[in-house]
């Protein structure tokens, strides 16, 4: 029985109809084979638009539906559901995009209309070959994996755990807390960072639903939404967490000192060390690269002095497989290393600092006990703060890091507050971006404190002085673009507001979890506006700065969003899984086994008895690697099979003459 197709062409207000003659396209479609009805409408996705489809299915007995509108990535599900409500299997539907791929990108209305017709003809021809398919319903494992224990990961883990679901929180470092634990105060309220983060960190440690795994990373992830298995590798801490009381005697006795990463190189730490007394867990960690015992086999000062017999040099790397239904990634950011921007002299002049280093100079448990001091122990009389180092810069990162203006203002205030009003502070900025709640007010307050703002990106920081006054100082050379004249400002200290950037191993992590990165290196969300926490991979969500630069309030809000999405799947307990997977027709398969090794998911097995290959539909992802290669054509992806693709091509090519002109060429 020939199919009865309904074709619906959308105007999308004027988004489509402004360039494409939607009415004309519908008239053209009405003339195509098997088309029972073709209509055009202002907004197909609106309720009346959908009702139109439903009514036609019921009253005209449509057996297939085609909608020509926006990208199927936006509304395919909407229309599939409408078909379903009308009583039609949702896979007997085809959508073609005449907005993003046509009206918005073809300049000439005639050409745009012609292209839309071609696309509709392809879709109509294809839909004839569609088959009914039924989604599988799979259980969702109630547990959730959260990767990264910065403020975002902490928030996500707490949100989920408090709903009663179990969370595995995996943190690579020895303690949770992330970058926030390095700060002293936070803008714009100047809350003490530890005062607001420590209670949350402790809450994680005390939450019975959270299984906290520090020194750990996910090394392999298998499965699909609802049923993920993650292999977690835990590096040895060399101290037994259950025995350690956190007294810190080992760190006192350890004879070996090396530069501290947590102190951004401004202070030393022991081979056995801990970020801060507030660390969670508060067990120290022995660094195998610097520990004398682990390198040379002798010392053991910590072991001799530990009152709790917690030191354990025999600890080995261990692996654990965790089963979860959903995953939240909260791996955070790195800051750009400004050494490569040689004009700013970082690494060459001792009084040039990064933002994170300056945070440590302000921190009460930092290298200077919270006093802003130069390496010579004196307080600086003048400080230059350079904004946008590596941000908004075509040669580094084009994007704005979104926090630097604000933390620069925080530094302005801290300098005035700690050193005294006589301290001179110069901000070199491009634009001040104070967009958040209370941010503009904070900017105003700092301006009133007598800070100088110079608009212009400095070309250089140098110690080449031109006058006696400049001697012994660092000179920031810039152009004041508001006054249009060059300036030289001599200061004692320079702080570089370096860009936030994607983690250096972001591509590796993206590969492990099967998600993508944007052009800027950060993890790619499903949709920039409407799907900022989900990813293209079902059941994997993002939280915090791993998705892009954010301040703490935004990172926390984003994390709660990610947690909420993971929870809605976990709470429902089941998920419907697309039936568009592959199938090998046993009557055609010659048993060549070509497909077996091609399948990246090991979903294909050879059935020895029948001498054919068989696909395990629960493992198949529907990538079609097997179908694209199967020499006998036995392997086919459902909804993307050979008949359907051929039909689409036929539909497209029958209309080729609409755009191509030469005479005397035969078209099939």
């Amino acid at each position: 029985m020939p199919s009865r197709i309904g074709v619906y062409v959308c105007h999308c207000g004027t988004n489509i109809a402004g360039r494409v003659d939607s009415e004309g396209v519908a008239r053209f479609a009405a003339g195509l084979k098997n088309v029972a009805v073709a209509r055009d409408y202002k907004f197909m996705c609106s309720d009346p638009g959908q009702d139109m489809i439903i009514k036609d299915i019921r009253e005209m007995g449509l057996t297939r539906v085609v909608v020509a509108s926006c990208s199927p990535r936006l509304h395919e599900k909407t229309f599939q559901k409408a078909c379903q409500r009308g009583g039609l299997n949702p896979f007997l539907f085809q959508m073609t995009c005449i907005r993003e791929h046509c009206s918005w990108v073809v300049a000439d209305p005639v050409e745009a209309t012609a292209k839309a017709k071609t696309l509709v003809a392809g879709a109509v021809s294809r839909v004839n070959e569609h088959e009914e398919l039924y989604s599988r319903v799979e259980a969702v494992h109630p547990d959730v994996l959260v990767v990264g224990g910065g403020i975002a990961g902490i928030q996500a883990a707490l949100d989920i755990a408090r709903s009663g679901h179990k969370v595995h929180l995996v943190e690579r470092g020895p303690s949770i807390g992330g970058h926030m634990t390095q700060f002293d105060k936070t803008f714009p309220t100047l809350d003490c960072a530890a005062c607001i983060s420590t209670p949350k960190m402790v809450a994680v440690a005390q939450e019975p639903n959270i299984n906290l795994m520090t020194m750990s990373e996910a090394v392999e992830v298998k499965g699909y939404v609802g049923n993920y298995t993650a292999r977690i590798r835990t590096r040895p801490r060399y101290i037994n967490e259950d025995r350690c009381t956190g007294c810190g005697l080992c760190m006192e006795k350890c004879p070996k000192s090396v530069p501290s990463e947590f102190e951004e190189g401004l202070a030393k730490r022991k081979a056995v060390h801990r970020n801060s007394p507030q660390s969670v867990p508060n067990t120290p960690v022995i660094d195998p690269a610097s520990c004398i015992y682990l390198v040379k086999g002798k010392c053991g000062a910590c072991k001799q002095n530990c009152p709790s017999e917690a030191i354990d040099f025999e600890q080995q790397e261990s692996f654990l497989d965790v089963q979860v239904g959903t995953i939240v990634l909260a791996t955070g950011f790195d800051i750009l290393d400004p050494t490569a921007l040689t004009q700013y002299g970082f690494g060459r002049y001792p009084e040039v600092y990064t933002g994170l280093q300056f945070e440590r100079l302000n921190n009460a448990v930092g290298p200077t006990g919270g006093k802003i001091l130069m390496k010579n122990g004196q307080a600086p009389e003048s400080v230059a703060i350079i904004h946008c180092v590596g941000s908004r810069d075509k040669n580094q990162h084009e994007y704005c890091s979104r926090v630097c203006c604000m933390y620069a203002l925080k530094y302005d205030h801290l300098i005035k507050d700690k050193i005294g009003h006589q301290a001179r502070v110069f901000n070199f900025y491009i634009d001040m971006r104070c967009f958040g709640k209370g941010y503009e007010e904070f900017y105003r307050r700092v301006q009133e404190e007598g800070v100088t703002f110079i608009r212009g990106r400095p070309s250089e920081v140098t110690d080449q002085t031109l006058s006696a006054e400049e001697d012994g100082k660092l000179i920031v050379v810039a152009e004041d673009t508001l006054l249009g004249r060059p300036v030289r400002v001599s200061v004692d200290m320079v702080v570089l507001c370096t860009a936030m950037q994607a983690r250096r191993d972001a591509s590796e992590v993206a590969r492990i979890f099967g998600i993508s990165q944007g052009q800027d290196g950060f993890f790619l969300e499903e949709h920039p506006k409407l799907g900022p926490v989900s990813t293209a991979t079902d059941g994997i969500f993002l939280a915090g700065t791993c998705q892009g630069p954010k301040d703490i309030p935004d990172a926390v809000a984003h994390a709660s969003g990610g947690a909420g999405q993971a929870l809605s799947l976990a709470a429902r307990g089941e998920v419907s899984i697309s039936p568009t997977v592959s199938w090998i027709n046993p009557d055609i398969c010659v048993g060549c086994k070509m497909c077996v090794d091609l399948c990246a998911y090991s979903a294909i097995e050879f059935d020895e008895r029948r001498k054919v290959c068989v696909i395990n539909e629960a493992m198949c992802k529907g990538c079609g690697s097997c179908a694209g290669h199967c020499p006998s054509g036995a392997a086919q992806v459902r909804h993307f099979n050979e008949k359907q693709i051929f039909a689409e091509l036929e539909g497209l090519s029958q209309n080729v003459p609409l755009v191509r002109q030469p005479a005397g060429v035969d078209h099939l």
Binding site: E650, V665, H667
Partner: protein
Amino acid sequence: MQELIATLETQSDPLPGAAFEPAIVAFVCNWCTYTAADLAGTSRMVQSPNVRLVRMMCTGMVDPKYIIKALLGGADAVLVSGCHPGDCHYINGNYKARRRVKLLMEILPRFGIDSRRIKLTWVGASEGNEFAATVNRFAAEIKELGPIDTRRLPLL
């Protein structure tokens, strides 16, 4: 404009003597290049109208038969485009596509089809600008190359 459209509708055959406008079929993967095409659209990046996208889930499912079918069906050229190496949503479907397309490009000239009529590119989900540039570049190349002579193809 309405008039122009009306003319077009009554025109069952192409305007005689107009310049050659190639027809190009593009098999693009849902996760990267199709998404990039959406982004190019959202960003209103004007493109040559000659390319029609066929949405595939992955370039790995593009059977060489589909490419041949498109060429026999009157397409002057075929673009296959997916995720960058290492970024394929299905781990490595794009490597398989690369192998197949390479092979096809070696074989087709023996049947009188210029291998320049097939192009394989990687355009990631965030590269709307790259997608538009690829389309425009390829369309220009094929315009230069001229129409495919399908009468010589029954050999296949």
